[in-house]
């Protein structure tokens, strides 16, 4: 059979952020906006769309600090077209949240499960606002 046909497409998306827009907007300022259930008081960061038990949620700001619950070291490439580079990814239980948030742990310093971290604002424009979610060790 014949050789494959080489095709290179470039898709250009205009992607709405919907109800999560306030969460993403706050990330850009280094603030942690969580979704809290008005009935049971539980809060989620990153936010859930609904409380699994009660339904609608409201926004609440968290202190922006938390504790690492899991770590992995590898590489990642930032969409849409970033090159792969080394990264430490941390799953962080944010103070005041029920769940844990996943983001890169930037800066120097040894990190282990249990270490305290804080949100670090982006140092420049990002392609997608979730790329502003990153952590640094609490000094």
């Amino acid at each position: 059979m014949s050789d494959p046909v080489a095709l290179a497409f470039t898709w250009r998306y205009r992607r709405p952020l919907g109800a999560l827009a306030p969460f993403f907007g706050a990330l850009g300022e280094g603030r942690a906006l969580a979704a809290r259930c008005a009935v049971c008081g539980r809060a989620w960061f990153p936010p859930r769309a609904v409380c699994p038990d009660h339904g609608a949620l409201e926004w609440v700001e968290l202190p922006g600090t938390g504790t690492v619950v899991a770590l992995t070291e590898g590489t990642r490439a930032l969409p849409p077209a970033g090159e792969a580079s080394p990264v430490r990814l941390a799953l962080v239980h944010m103070d005041g949240a029920e769940n844990a948030a996943l983001g890169p742990l930037i800066g120097e310093g040894a990190a282990v499960v249990g270490v305290r971290v804080q949100l670090v604002p982006p140092d420049g424009p990002v392609a997608h606002p979730i790329q502003a979610l990153r952590f640094g060790l609490v000094r």
Binding site: M1, L17, V69, L89, L102
Partner: protein
């Protein structure tokens, strides 16, 4: 009423380099499966097509393409459920029969990963978790599986050698499977010396991105043609959904959604003690440790005990419950649209006693379990097969 697996056919998994296309594969495996089942094409009442990603295939509405490639004009539908796409297509086809809407259903699964470079495929697969929260941050499947198994290691003392032992077993099985993507056996030392992808996972802990196609013929048990083979029927089906984001789960090292999917399948099959009732299993080993986590979630070993049971030989080809005789995703390969169907075809052939020489268990087996999932055990799809 019950549903029988009347026939099957599989295109070997791997990186396709012969210039053929999924259109060709669908036609070939479908014709071969119909011949295997002794079913005439005109007797097919419905076509179910499993394809995971239009981004890989550049073919939207693939069920219509498949009908065209096979030469069918019956109802056709496409099913997608991430890595469990083939398994979900199997369930959709079986349910069509159980609902009384069809007697014979052809289920075809296909994936063509090698059209894109592996790094681009992995980036697309990163969008199969929560795209805006994870994928757009550059999170890929291996990162989430690495975090999950790291927590399992912390909770249960699972070691990197335990993970490597899974890959060694599955690659050893794959060496005897002519349909497998990776047919070279490996050692624990080779796994532990392979490059780190995301700690603790190394290259040889990971399943490959495979091209593949599988077709199954399902038949209402009383409508199954006589092939002279033992009848294998679907005894149980279960599916369940875990939290989309790993960080939303109460225990990130456990596959709780899979536990519920398995419970539903066991309930339907009338199974109370799965570790005794199940004789052989194909388990979703997207990464080596995920096999251990899945075995525990499926109730085939107590929590934290799968690595010990593996080391004791329980899941070896001659063990009490062989797991991934095909080689699993790590050995046979991972082609999401086709994987779940390959598992069912493998297990049906094992129960019929006609699997590959060297892999076919010597003793007669009664019940088999197929397990697949999307995401990181986010939507799990579990099937129990039973020989007559």
């Amino acid at each position: 009423m019950s549903v029988a697996i009347a026939g099957s056919a599989m295109r070997p998994f791997g990186r396709s380099r012969d210039g053929s296309s999924p259109r060709d594969w669908i036609g070939a495996v479908s014709a071969a499966a119909l011949a295997d089942a002794a079913v005439d094409r005109g007797d097919v009442d419905a076509l179910v097509v499993g394809v995971e990603s239009d981004h890989l295939s550049l073919q939207l509405s693939p069920a219509a393409l498949a009908a065209d490639a096979i030469g069918l004009d019956c109802p056709a539908v496409r099913v997608e459920m991430g890595g469990a796409t083939g398994a979900a297509a199997l369930h959709a086809g079986a349910m069509r029969i159980l609902a009384g809407a069809a007697r014979i259903v052809l289920v075809v699964g296909v994936e063509h990963a090698s059209q894109l470079a592996p790094a681009e495929v992995r980036r697309l697969y990163g969008l199969s978790f929560d795209a805006d929260i994870e994928g757009m941050a550059g999170i890929e499947p291996v990162h989430l599986y690495a975090l999950s198994i790291g927590a399992h290691m912390a909770a249960h003392g699972t070691t990197a050698r335990d993970l490597a032992a899974v890959a060694v077993k599955n690659r050893s099985n794959a060496a005897l499977n002519p349909n497998a993507h990776r047919r070279e056996a490996i050692t624990v030392d080779a796994v532990l010396a392979s490059p780190v992808v995301s700690t603790p996972y190394r290259t040889l802990d990971c399943s490959p991105l495979s091209d593949g196609a599988v077709a199954l013929v399902l038949a209402r048990a009383d409508a199954a043609p006589r092939t002279g083979r033992r009848t294998v029927r679907i005894a149980g089906m279960g599916s369940a959904t875990d939290a989309l984001r790993l960080g939303d789960r109460p225990a990130i090292h456990r596959f709780d959604g899979k536990r519920r999917a398995a419970a539903a399948a066991y309930r339907m099959a009338g199974i109370e003690a799965p570790s005794h009732a199940i004789d052989v299993a194909e388990v979703y080993d997207a990464f080596s440790g995920a096999e251990l986590q899945s075995i525990e979630a499926l109730g085939l070993a107590p929590d934290g005990a799968a690595a010990r049971a593996l080391a004791d030989g329980a899941f070896a080809p001659d063990g009490r419950l062989p797991v991934n005789l095909s080689g699993g995703l790590i050995g046979q390969g991972g082609a999401p649209g086709a994987t779940g169907l390959a598992q069912a075809a493998t297990l049906a052939r094992i129960l019929e006693g006609r699997y590959w020489p060297g892999l076919q268990p010597a003793r007669s087996l009664q019940r088999a379990l197929a397990d697949a999932h999307s995401g990181i055990a986010t939507v799990s799809v579990v099937t129990v097969l039973e020989g007559a």
